[in-house]
């Protein structure tokens, strides 16, 4: 008995000690006045010219000084390091007047030469800067500095929304690129621990256009953390000040605990949609290709889906049924008068019968005698999307279609979607960071590799795809807002009629904001909560 008691005590002591020593959730030590939140993975680069992923883009947004800033709240281009700017009548000459007194974080002055050097570096083919593509033919762009405070950029042709492009070009000291360590923005990169965090420190020489002073927060810490459970725990303990992307179930959990903390900002600009593989190169049997190419088949599928259930059940009510690629949150371009197929089971069945299908019991059979069976591919790891796929599976069973759901990891999914075209249907989401439809050109131009249902067409495969190409080119080149809106409305109507993408829902923007965090003005465009990082501060901090 004594032996048993002693051994049990020893065991408990051992467990408690070793258990307590390493706590389940620990964030890095918070410095005074520092704000903290998480990012999903290590930024791939700190060189602002080479940014080609989301987290690197965030670091650039927070650290880089730019000539023009696209204000995520007002959705207007505003001067930043440039005091003023103008575009010539033919749209080919941009003139910037530099803001006097602007300095880099190492106290050197920001001059037009620095700006010119930075822009030229971005345009160089060796830099391979993704943003250079926005200039259409970067080699033909000329940058001049007639005096130390003036910068002139000569474009080969008019580019729609050219102002926004400068939001992505960081102005760095001439001949001294520093990977974010010397910047003209509100913060500088101070420390980076791989897989742990990125620490940004306040730039004392930065002057906010709005307040005339440096950023309020002494620094920012971006912890690299993908685990949602840990993030929620640490947020609840006050270790993080905000969560900028919440899953619906965690949103509800936080909301029950403290309704003020969890905020549903309404529909985002993003869409969740399903589409069928219409590529002639797809290794699919001919009868399946015939189904997917049939407009009536696609419309019937759209009519069989209960979008209200998808929003209510898969997103716990935090999503809005979608019928077009322009979300109602995109007030400038949204059109409520687009007529799209709504849920109507009888009409769906009639459509299918009209297209040559017939029902054998509860199974749908096509004109050649094949039972309608196909798979829906989606990516693993997104619970809401997988629930939607299962809900759609039952909806389509009601019109006799036998659907299987397959979730793959992203690289394998992309290989099928974009390289081998070895898939039947796909259910994915599309992120729209820019409300202007011009940013969606790659999606709609039939020759583009991102033209998901039939990538890289040599010539448009159908008349309606040709019409979409025409209208998108009109909106890209026109200077009249009215003409552009007309063109985009026409594209929306074609898409509603033809259903190449069957839109499902617009997920809402779900965020959590600590009650101690002040200055937050949530916007619909990314970065939703920290677009005004220089105005954010913790209550009670200096």
């Amino acid at each position: 008995m004594r032996l048993l008691a002693t051994s049990l005590t020893l065991a408990c002591a051992l467990v408690t000690h070793l258990g307590a020593v390493s706590c389940a959730a620990q964030a890095a030590q918070r410095l005074s006045g520092e704000l903290a939140w998480t990012i999903g993975y290590d930024p791939k680069t700190f060189d602002p010219a080479k940014v080609d992923d989301q987290e690197s883009e965030l670091v650039r947004y927070l650290t880089a000084g730019v000539l023009l800033r696209f204000n995520r709240f007002t959705q207007r281009v505003e001067p930043a390091l440039a005091q003023s700017w103008s575009l010539s009548a033919d749209g080919k000459i941009l003139t910037f007047k530099m803001r006097p007194g602007a300095k880099f974080s190492d106290s050197s002055n920001v001059t037009a030469q620095d700006a010119a050097w930075s822009i030229r570096r971005v345009l160089l083919p060796d830099t391979a800067a993704p943003v250079a593509e926005e200039f259409v033919s970067p080699a033909s762009v000329r940058v001049d500095t007639p005096d130390p405070n003036t910068l002139v950029v000569h474009l080969p042709k008019r580019i729609a929304g050219i102002g926004k492009v400068f939001d992505e070009i960081a102005i760095e000291p001439m001949n001294r690129p520093s990977d974010g360590r010397v910047t003209a923005g509100p913060f500088v990169v101070a420390d980076y621990r791989r897989s742990q965090f990125v620490r940004l420190r306040r730039n004392p020489y930065y002057r906010s256009v709005a307040t005339g002073s440096p950023a309020y927060a002494a620094g920012l810490r971006l912890d690299i953390l993908e685990n949602a459970e840990q993030e929620i725990r640490l947020f609840a303990r006050g270790e993080y000040d905000l969560i900028d992307e919440l899953q619906p179930d965690y949103f509800e959990l936080l909301r029950h605990r403290d309704p003020a903390v969890a905020r549903d900002l309404g529909p985002s600009l993003n869409t969740e949609q399903m589409w069928f593989n219409q590529s002639p190169a797809a290794p699919l049997p001919s009868w399946e290709k015939a189904w997917f190419a049939s407009r009536e088949f696609r419309v019937a599928v759209s009519q069989a889906i209960h979008r209200d259930d998808l929003a209510r059940i898969a997103y716990l009510g935090h999503a809005t049924p979608a019928y077009s690629f322009i979300s109602p949150a995109n007030t400038a371009w949204y059109n409520r008068n687009i007529s799209a197929p709504k849920t109507d089971l009888a009409a769906a069945k009639a459509s299918l019968v009209h297209a040559g299908f017939h029902f054998s019991g509860s199974q749908l059979i096509d004109a050649t005698g094949h039972a309608v069976k196909f798979s829906i591919l989606t990516n693993a790891g997104n619970e809401a999307r997988q629930k939607m796929a299962t809900l759609v599976q039952q909806d389509l069973a009601a019109v006799g279609m036998h659907v299987s759901v397959v979730a793959l990891d992203f690289p394998a999914l992309i290989e099928r979607l974009m390289h081998t075209q070895d898939y039947e249907a796909c259910l994915l989401g599309l992120e729209n960071v820019d409300p202007d439809p011009n940013a969606m050109m790659n999606q709609w131009l039939s020759s583009s590799p991102d033209h998901q249902w039939n990538p890289s067409e040599k010539t448009p495969a159908t008349a309606w795809e040709a019409e979409i190409d025409r209208e998108m080119n009109i909106q890209a080149s026109s200077t009249s807002d009215r003409v552009r809106k007309q063109a985009v409305d026409r594209v929306q109507q074609i898409v509603a009629d033809q259903q190449p993408f069957i839109y499902l829902v617009y997920p809402n923007v779900l965020v959590a904001i600590s009650p101690r965090l002040e200055g937050v003005r949530p916007a619909l465009l990314a970065p939703n909560l920290v677009w005004n990082a220089d105005s954010l501060r913790l209550r009670g901090a200096q």
Partner: protein, 262 residues
């Protein structure tokens, strides 16, 4: 003896109950009652409903039958393979033994997840959920044996040099007879391996859902239900989320009781 008999009866009763629940007219593991998601226990749904309004009792029963059969078969296969390799390596010629143990060591290191991805890409996308499940358990069984084989090999070597084995050899027993006598003495290694593999395969099947294998919707996956426990939002939503794991623990204890007397 009595407890083994009782355990056997209880296991059979569980299986029978699960079959009855699933076979009852009107019972469906896939029908979504969309107006009552996360419903609590009621006459229509004795164990409530899940996130998509599907009856939890029917789903857990179907999952029990499906996953348990698959996991138990895969465990038996993998344990038998480990036993086979370990015994052959110990009692067979030295070169065979050398190759077998080298194979075990080589097998333990590589990232087999990629083999599973290759298997998934070889399967047609519209393979039925059942065939995907069968393939998953077969592959799991094929990959699970090396770790245990080494332990079996060690145990078999110890037996080979033990006194009574030397006596038996001296008495003229043939190698196959020696092996048959040796195997029951390896049960202290084989039985725990079998018992541990069952829940490991149940959960592994669910984890393989991330690369497209596993039991596909709308078939219920027991491992998938267990994985729901990692979501604190789910834990606060309903107490019924503990139902699958409670059942698994009961099944494991019953299997343990059956194995104990062996």
């Amino acid at each position: 003896m009595r407890s083994k008999f009782a355990a056997n009866c209880l296991l059979a009763a569980l299986a029978l109950a699960a079959i009855i629940v699933v076979a009852m007219p009107g019972a469906s593991y896939s029908h979504q009652d969309r107006e009552s998601t996360f419903a609590s226990a009621s006459k229509a749904h004795p164990a409530g409903t899940d996130a998509l309004g599907r009856d939890r009792l029917v789903r857990v029963s179907a999952a029990l039958l499906l996953s348990l059969t698959g996991a138990a078969a895969a465990s038996a296969l993998t344990t038998a393979a480990a036993a086979g390799v370990g015994v052959v390596a110990a009692f067979g010629p030295e070169s065979i033994g050398w190759i077998a143990i080298l194979t075990c060591d080589v097998f333990l290191a590589p990232p087999w997840m990629f083999l599973l991805m290759i298997v998934r890409s070889a399967l047609p996308l519209s393979a039925s959920p059942m065939s995907s499940a069968v393939v998953t358990f077969v592959v799991l069984a094929a990959l699970g044996w090396p770790a245990c084989a080494r332990a079996v090999h060690k145990g078999a070597l110890n037996l080979k040099t033990s006194d009574w084995m030397l006596h038996a050899q001296a008495a003229g027993l043939r190698p196959t007879q020696l092996v048959r006598t040796a195997v029951p003495n390896l049960l202290p290694v084989l039985l725990p391996q079998f018992l541990i593999s069952i829940p490991a395969f149940v959960i592994a099947e669910a984890n393989l859902g991330a690369i497209g294998l596993g039991i596909g919707e709308p078939l219920p996956s027991w491992g998938g239900m267990l994985l729901e426990l990692d979501n604190s939002a789910m834990l606060f939503e309903t107490r019924w989320v503990y139902f699958p794991i409670a059942l698994l623990i009961i099944v494991l204890l019953l299997l343990e009781a059956v194995a104990m007397e062996a």
